[in-house]
């Protein structure tokens, strides 16, 4: 087997600590379907077909339907599938933690994420100062945080908010911005260009940016969060735009999830959601360099 027993046990303890964190905060643990007819339309995420349906790329749309149905605090830990993604930090099958909470925005979700990371690190490895790739990361108390605009101006010399360039944005993010982060502390990038909003809402008072953040620790992207978009008209417009872009790139266009849009039309309360890569969190807390070291394959 590719994962040794001590890592299996540590992984178990990480997952147990995550569950305890949410149970203690009165979150409901849910399981939503893995095989679905309408995977979320995203420009650069491809779904794996499963018969006449698909495997989910994330549980997002189903979990938001639960919010429309009256759930206020929900979390889920489960498998997600993304076709063609394989590297040290990627697998076509991986484990995602997602949680949603109504009545809060992305910054409240960030505070909760920080509490979660501290809570889990106290279980594995047992402290918030952790060894990582020959160095050391202090997970608490300071997290660097900067807007996407400031990070790009500082590290790449241009402002992606005033003029967005998708190709340049992705490449500079990997080649210039991410390497500029401190190796000793977590870093949060927030307020993404509106063009990179995905399913987040635009910032009230400044629609040039979206209320989205990403957490980086040890050079890895660990979590992504939104103040969730709750406007059904805008959501449909984004899906349609994404479908056009996918088509133009020669990608498969999935049917729009009409049940999700209907739920949004009935009303999803103001809420925030976070998606966190469980495999990467285990890598970080066990000081292992590849996702293949922490997942049974």
């Amino acid at each position: 087997m590719n994962v040794d027993n001590s890592i299996l046990e540590q992984r178990h303890r990480v997952v147990r600590a995550i569950r305890r964190f949410f149970w203690d905060r009165d979150y409901i643990e849910v399981e939503t379907p893995v095989r679905i007819p309408s995977p979320c339309l995203e420009l650069h995420i491809d779904a794996e077909p499963a018969g006449n349906q698909f495997l989910r790329t994330s549980p997002e749309l189903h979990m938001k339907r639960l919010l429309a149905g009256g759930s206020a605090k929900i979390f889920q830990i489960g498998p997600c599938f993304r076709r063609g993604e394989k590297g040290n930090l990627h697998r076509p099958e991986f484990t995602m933690l997602e949680w949603y909470r109504t009545g809060v925005g992305y910054m409240e979700a960030l505070a909760e994420t920080k509490a979660l990371v501290a809570h889990v690190a106290k279980e594995v490895p047992g402290q918030t100062g952790i060894p990582w790739q020959g160095g050391r990361i202090e997970l608490m108390p300071v997290w660097d945080s900067m807007t996407v605009r400031d990070a790009f101006i500082g590290a790449a010399g241009w402002d992606p908010v005033s003029k967005f360039d998708a190709d340049r944005f992705n490449l500079d993010l990997v080649e210039k911005v991410e390497p500029s982060f401190s190796p000793e502390r977590p870093t949060v990038l927030y307020d993404y260009p509106a063009e990179a909003a995905a399913l987040s809402r635009l910032k009230p008072g400044d629609p040039s940016v979206a209320e989205r953040w990403e957490l980086y620790i040890g050079g890895m992207e660990i979590a992504n969060a939104f103040s969730e978009l709750t406007d059904a008209v805008e959501q449909r417009r984004r899906f349609e735009q994404c479908a056009e872009q996918r088509k133009a790139r020669g990608g498969e266009v999935y049917p729009v999830d009409e049940e999700f849009l209907e739920a949004m039309e009935r009303g999803i309360p103001e809420c925030a959601g976070v998606a966190l890569g469980v495999d990467r969190l285990v890598m970080l807390l066990t000081n292992l360099q590849s996702i293949g070291d922490v997942r049974i394959e």
Binding site: I45, E85, D167, L171, V174, E178, E221
Partner: protein
Amino acid sequence: MITASDLRKGLRIEFEGIPYIITEFNFVKPGKGQGIYTCKLKNLLNGATTVRNFRDNARFEEPDVEDKHLRFSYEEGDNLVFLDDAFEQISIPGSVLGDKKKLLVEDAAVAITFYNGQAIDVEMPTFVEKKVVHSEPGVKGDTATNVTKPATLEGGYILQVPLFVNQGDVVRVDTRTGEYLDRASRK
């Protein structure tokens, strides 16, 4: 046509008119962005390495590269003559191997890489055994370690050997470094 999703360690690609082999490979996907394929590339013509990031719309030509498994037969002027399994003769310029051509022994199994029909690389057996045809005797009493002296092997290859190696001994040479490994037999 090679697309970005075909990229993997060991694949040969033609990029900006130069044939490369991918020696290290990683895939990263920032945020919800486009996948980026990070490749360490080794230039097949001169061995130089470079790291490049490719986006998922990158396209490459398949280089006209072929490996042939051959056996060394003989040297003819500036050329080296090899035989394939059908005993057909294949001749390549000796310059491809440089000074290491002097380490070839008859019937040595080699893999020669051809690019557009031209030989660009010869993978020799890792170790060869050659007889020392000339070396001055080591000075008696000089027992310090790491002291070496020059020796000329059969075929004219010159390398540094320990003092205890004598003319007529057979030595093993690592063809990757071109350096002395050990003494295979004494005279």
